[in-house]
Subunit: 252 residues, 2 copies
DNA sequence: AGTTTAATTCAAAAAAGTTCAAGTTAAATC
DNA sequence: GATTTAACTTGAACTTTTTTGAATTAAACT
């Protein structure tokens, strides 16, 4: 492949994905890491992208560190599979809520094709990503948490209370055998509860590693929602409550 | 094959493909690499194409040059000077509003040192930047405009109506001799008006090039605020309304 | 700590530049 | 009209430069 061509592929890929790993580009262009690194150095010098540890970021992507951790995180493949699966539930013309968080963030690219879609979110990165995909986006404001970049607090709750969603897609950090949906942080829990309350249908996105885990605050009951998760281990299956709607997203 | 004919074929192929390899052209024209190289040298000299290692690229292809957008917009230095000047107006312990926009965005780094500061903004990038500087941040939600990434609309206005700021820092696109503060977009104008209404003191940030410019919507009167701008040209001075508080930020 | 990613270095491979002999063409000469 | 010569084009052989991938060392992240 021509150097020129390869660098264009990289540019295009970065335009679409905002962030990418060196390895991804190797597979994409069928070249070695050395070559990709050299390309990235050149492209950075040309002002097309910014190099970050492990890959590169689009120059006009402000979401920086958080989404970087999103992309390079551990169960990334599982999260994408869950997100893709969940995205299939979305109907054209609907108003959906996308919770702040890494798994739900991954839904956005899969939503880009759906017609007349409006997404509402309290995640800054999610909003920016959606805008980048030409999706009509409404952001829940409020105090922004420094670690997760999620809108929380009374301002957020008040704004949420006036909205009604076709469906909410919410991340959770834990699910126990009694069907408690849990998260470590009270303010985020309050928001998640409101997100559920305002939705006709709720989907909880959580990878299998979180089933059986317990956290400080319960924000809802599992039987009020559909759980979308990755392939379950035997241990995870034992920890699932009885009266539950659970769907496994299979990925290869 | 005639040289003339061969070069015509190369041109045509390049018009269609933007980019091509020497080998491709050899097959296409049934000639040796030497010949193709000689053709490419000639055609490059004629300004038809640009040679790259391994092939050539159409001169008409500007997708490459677009990437020269290391564009920190036009008056970047002036904007930083204005932002620095405006930031000095901020007192510790205050609640201030920072409007979405490039000039106001530049204030954020200068605000990082100020103790007990809470900033409220309707700009996504501004919020992320502030969070990055460990500043307590509240975001105004609402529909997010795709071009400016600013929160607008009724959701935003409603949320704003409940807040009160020590000071608002707002960008403007135009100021005429009657003291009209103007911006091109009605929805943003409505937000800017609300930002002014909720503030004890308003600072309008605009570089000198915008003084004398007119735009579609007026969102406020200059005598209700302090204008912070860059060094004024003679033309700009002539366009300034009489009853105005205006401060020039000097930069070297 | 240990693991992953990046920078550096070097040899192999690919491509470009260079040179030259053979082939073409066209005008000039016989 | 045929032959010669000069100008030009072409393809191959060779050298130089650029690009590439692997190996090693250094740095960064968890």
């Amino acid at each position: 492949m021509l150097t020129e061509k390869r660098q264009r592929v990289i540019e295009k890929y970065l335009d679409e994905h905002d962030l990418c790993q060196v390895i991804e580009l190797c597979h994409l262009t069928q070249t070695s890491e050395s070559t990709i690194r050299r390309d990235l150095i050149q492209l950075e010098k040309a002002g097309v992208l910014t190099r970050v540890h492990g890959g590169a970021r689009s120059i006009r992507d402000f979401s920086r560190d958080v989404s970087q951790h999103v992309r390079f995180g551990r169960n990334h493949q599982a999260k994408i599979a869950i997100a893709r699966y969940a995205a299939h539930k979305v109907q054209p013309g609907s108003y959906i809520f996308i919770d702040a968080g890494t798994t739900t963030y991954e839904m956005v690219p899969f939503l880009a094709q759906i017609r007349d879609l409006t997404i509402v979110t309290n995640g800054l990165e999610t909003a920016l990503c959606a805008l980048g995909h030409q999706i009509e986006t409404i952001l829940i404001g409020g105090r922004i948490k420094a670690d997760t970049h999620a809108g929380v607090g009374t301002f957020a709750l008040k704004q949420l209370a006036t909205m009604n969603f076709t469906a909410s897609f919410i991340g959770a950090n834990g699910l126990d055998v009694q069907g408690h949906l849990m998260t470590p942080e009270p303010e985020e829990a309050a928001i998640k509860a409101a997100e559920m309350a305002q939705a006709q249908t709720t989907y909880i996105l959580m990878d299998a590693s979180k089933i059986g885990e317990r956290h400080f605050v319960t924000f809802g009951q599992a039987n009020q929602a559909t759980i979308v998760t990755s392939q379950l281990s035997q241990a995870a299956k034992a920890a699932i409550p009885a009266d539950i709607r659970l769907e496994e997203a299979i990925y290869s």
